[in-house]
């Protein structure tokens, strides 16, 4: 069961990079799809041509982005089997179902109707086309729901039990998997983050047009839509992110403690550290500046709830490792004697802690012979990297508040009809363009690195989840992905910038000129 460490590191790096790359496209798809629906609804209700132009123009940018999202999404689904074969075996019974249902219920909807969105303008009635646009938006949001149900289960594995006959986790309560509170909180947080991304995108590009005095009618209206939708989204992303923090506080105590660099349990209500330099070696945060009460309020929604510190959680993990070793021992004995009822009962009693015993595999293969020192060492493995989590989280939250300010400003200027003349604000809006992506990537970093050393919290350590591949094979594909993806990103951004420079004419019929002469030219 020992696996070379570098395969683990390379597989993690590859999954992390391809997932973060995929998530460059996902939030924009989520947000723009809804914005397209809003714009086209206005067109259908008012019949004013400018709104149709807006829908078509933003639709072109949506399409370029969507193709990249689809392309890089296939990699995500395949990689579980390619690089994480033991994971796929160990939790496929639970984790596979939401992925399959995502395809069946959501992605089919989104992908089947997106073709009609582009090709159906002249083939469908106004209302039918509007329905198509909204079905695309509905599909992309449902898609996020099922993916986050799958991801939520990795953070908080409910409704499943270890089966010694099949050596894997199996579903016992599918409703618990679907209505997992962590998954629900993550879904609303992620989807709102997507709406913020779509709104900042529309806001920034519209600001660029207004600064240049081009496509003013389109830009003004787009900016107003983005400002109102974005303000609502930015408020909910912060509020729902707080909800996410609350559910993590209940279910992933180590993640919260690491994000807050809270080494020791404080008397309730715990204080919130605004600044500090967490030291993983000494278990102390240097130069700490903290605000009393705030963390306790966020994480427990009360003034007397205690937030556990890292050292206390490590001691708790040590107990669970000892309990897990009993389960592990029972499992080994069952392998020789499948029908031993006594060992089955022992496994059932301690089965929830089996994953903790597996942590010892990193230290020695024959885990049942682990010494006290080795158990303590394994317990310390449950601490994720504190300093990067501490800072990534703070930057993300800071950006969240910045988005509220940005959209509030845009909303105010739009309502007093001064958007066009406030050049300073337009510059700010333009330069805000990359920020939602940075916030989203930081958010995923906190969510996934904060879960380490687990791939399934408390159930399966990441280092055991990989495929039995050679490091050379994984390195080959990692280098291949980096080269291929970088090239595509350059092309993608180039085409996006070109479409933005062209403006709405990119979506309008071209008469004569280049198109006709090109059509007649031989291809080779």
């Amino acid at each position: 069961m020992t696996t070379a460490l570098d395969v683990v590191q390379l597989s993690r790096l590859q999954f992390g990079l391809t997932a973060m790359y995929h998530f460059l496209f996902v939030p924009l798809t989520l947000g723009l799809a809804v914005l397209l629906g809003v714009m086209e609804s206005v067109y259908v209700m008012t019949g004013r041509e400018i709104w149709r132009q807006m829908t078509k123009f933003w639709g072109v940018l949506f399409g370029i982005n969507f193709a990249m999202g689809v392309a890089t999404g296939i990699t995500m689904e395949f990689q579980f089997g390619m690089n994480w074969a033991y994971y796929s075996h160990y939790v496929g019974d639970v984790f596979g179902a939401p992925l399959a249902i995502e395809g069946l219920m959501a992605f089919f909807l989104e992908a089947t109707f997106i073709g009609l969105f582009f090709f159906g303008w002249d083939k469908l009635s106004k209302v039918a086309h509007l329905a198509v646009t909204w079905l695309v938006a509905l599909g992309s949001n449902l898609s996020a729901l099922w993916i986050l149900i799958a991801n939520g289960w990795m953070q908080h594995p409910v409704g499943a039990r270890f089966n010694p006959d099949t050596m894997r986790m199996e579903v016992t309560d599918f409703m618990a998997v679907i209505f997992n509170p962590v998954a629900q909180a993550k879904f609303v947080h992620t989807v709102s983050a997507g709406y913020v991304t779509g709104s900042v995108f529309v806001l920034a590009i519209s600001a660029y047009y207004l600064l240049r005095g081009r496509h003013v009618e389109l830009a003004k209206r787009s900016m107003t839509v983005a400002a109102s939708f974005g303000l609502a989204a930015a408020l909910s992303v912060v509020v729902l992110g707080d909800e996410s923090g609350y559910t993590a506080g209940e279910n992933q105590k180590m993640k919260i403690a690491a994000i807050e660099a809270m080494w020791d349990t404080e008397p309730a209500p715990a204080s919130f550290t605004v600044f500090g330099l967490p030291n993983q070696e000494t278990h102390h945060t240097d130069y700490e500046v903290s605000v009393p009460w705030v963390l306790g309020l966020i994480a427990t929604r009360s003034i007397n709830g205690e937030v556990a510190g890292i050292n206390e959680l490590v001691a708790h993990a040590e107990e669970r490792i000892r309990s897990g070793l009993i389960a592990y021992d029972a499992l080994e004995k069952l392998r020789g004697d499948r029908d031993n009822a006594g060992e089955r009962a022992r496994l059932a009693a301690h089965g929830d802690d089996l994953g903790y015993a597996l942590l010892l595999k990193k230290i020695r293969p024959d885990v049942v012979n682990a010494s006290d020192a080795e158990v303590a060492q394994a317990a310390r493995l449950t601490i994720p990297p504190v300093s990067p989590l501490f800072w990534a989280f703070r930057f993300m939250v800071g950006l969240g508040f910045l988005f509220i300010a940005l959209f509030a400003g845009a909303f105010y200027l739009a309502s007093i009809r001064k958007l066009q003349s406030s050049r300073a604000f337009l510059h700010v809006a333009l330069w805000a363009l990359p920020l939602p992506w940075i916030a989203a990537e930081l958010g995923w970093y906190v969510a996934e690195v904060g879960r380490q050393p687990w791939v399934i919290e408390g159930v399966l350590p990441t280092f055991l989840a990989v495929s039995s591949l050679s490091a050379g094979n994984v390195l080959t594909t990692l280098v291949g992905f980096i080269a291929f993806y970088s090239t595509l990103l350059v092309v993608d951004i180039y085409l996006m910038v070109k479409a933005v420079r062209m403006g709405p004419s990119v979506a309008a019929p071209v008469r004569g000129g280049t198109a006709a002469s090109l059509a007649a030219a031989p291809a080779e």
């Binding site: 296939i74 089997g81 395809g103 069946l104 009609l116 006959d165 050596m167 579903v171 070109k498 071209v510």
Partner: protein, 379 residues
């Protein structure tokens, strides 16, 4: 709840439905991409080819995503062993499948002829490589794959990328390429206008002939050269999904045993051959609407033949036949199979209904006049 045995059989059949759905739906746009450089001589003609699949390829590709998801959910050990075992081959498939969406989308964004030529060949590669590798993968399923499990069910694979490219598997790869080229050609014959449609019909007929010959050679190899696998002793049909609890062995001619036991399944290879022959016939009679149906039946027959031959095996192990994955010991739990069945019964009819509506809206041929007049709104 239906018995575990029944659910496993249903999911084996649904796996077949999904693979046939993939081969029929995504198959024609892979085939159209393979034919793109050969049936389109001018940029406008190539745009006609691309725009016949332009509005539907995204939906078609979901059959692949759903296929992957369904194998993950219903047959987790198969997903784990096949995807990690065929690691580098899967990577090549991924690169090809990533080239396709961006190729469709990006090609039309610049008028530069070199840019467009590069994307034409990228689309060709994006069609050819998955078609070839899917066939090669089926060939390796028939031959058995070198993997084994330890007692925690961690799989070790002892083959290489070049081991996958053995002569029999390459033959199966060519069967797959011929089959999808026929299907893509039949689709273009229906959806494009002359001269693109005529060229496509010509290539489709040639590909159908190649399919008939190659599929027959493949059958002879299975009968005479390739060992099949069979279960030794009994395997409980409702036992735990643990592939280490049975015995199996490699036997010459074992893949033909099912046809002896249930001659009615000979219908699958007969449909495969007959569909291809009818495709040629209908295309020469310019009955393009019927030709695509014949071609789809042939595709379904080829996939079904492979699946029925190896039943109850899903993926035999050449290294340790006892570790082979079968319908009876490589599924999800009974509860998961049941939940997935309900989800499929609810959503698959809805998917088929709106897909049919979309094809209805998009009915009719794509013409050069249409693509040149609608340059901004087409690919």
């Amino acid at each position: 709840m239906p018995s575990y045995e029944t659910l496993r059989l249903i999911w084996w059949a649904l796996l077949g439905v999904l693979l046939i759905g993939l081969a029929v739906m995504d198959g024609f746009d892979l085939g159209a991409a393979i034919l793109l450089p050969f049936v389109g001589k001018t940029d406008a003609e190539r745009r006609v080819v691309i725009n016949t699949v332009g509005p539907v390829w995204e939906g078609n590709q979901v059959w692949l995503i759903l296929g992957g998801g369904a194998i993950f959910a219903a047959w987790p050990p198969l997903y784990a062993v096949a995807f990690s075992g065929f690691y580098l081959a899967m990577f090549l498939v991924l690169c090809a499948l990533i080239l396709r969406p961006v190729g469709f989308k990006f090609r039309s964004k610049l008028a530069n002829p070199t840019w467009r030529r590069v994307w034409d060949w990228a689309l060709f590669v994006g069609g050819l490589v998955p078609a070839l590798i899917f066939g090669v993968a089926f060939g390796n399923v028939l031959r058995g794959v070198p993997f084994r499990f330890d007692d925690t069910l961690r799989m070790t694979y002892e083959g290489t990328l070049f081991g996958l490219l053995n002569p029999f598997a390459l033959l199966c790869g060519l069967v797959s390429v011929a089959m999808l080229t026929m299907h893509g050609g039949a689709y273009l014959a229906l959806k494009a206008e002359a001269p693109v449609a005529d060229r496509a019909a010509f290539f489709a007929s040639r590909a159908a002939m190649a399919l008939i010959v190659l599929f027959a050679i493949g059958g002879l190899c299975v009968a005479l050269l390739i060992d099949g696998y069979s279960i030794v002793g009994v395997i409980p049909h409702d036992g735990p999904s643990n592939p280490l609890m049975k015995h199996a062995a490699a036997n010459a001619g074992a893949w033909l045993a099912n046809y002896g036991n249930a001659p009615s399944i000979l219908a699958a290879p007969i449909v495969a051959f007959g569909g291809a022959a009818l495709t040629i016939l209908f295309l020469s009679a310019r009955r393009n609407g019927v030709a695509i149906v014949a071609s789809a039946l042939s595709v379904a027959g080829v996939v079904a033949t492979a699946g029925l031959s190896v039943f109850p095996f899903l993926l035999p192990s050449s290294l340790d036949p006892n570790a082979s994955l079968t319908v009876w010991d490589a599924s999800s739990s009974q509860l998961t199979l049941m939940i997935m069945l309900i989800a499929t019964l609810v959503f698959l009819p809805i998917v088929l209904a709106y897909t049919a509506w979309v094809y209805h809206v998009l009915r009719g041929r794509v013409t050069t006049a249409y693509v040149t007049e609608n340059t901004a709104s087409t690919y």
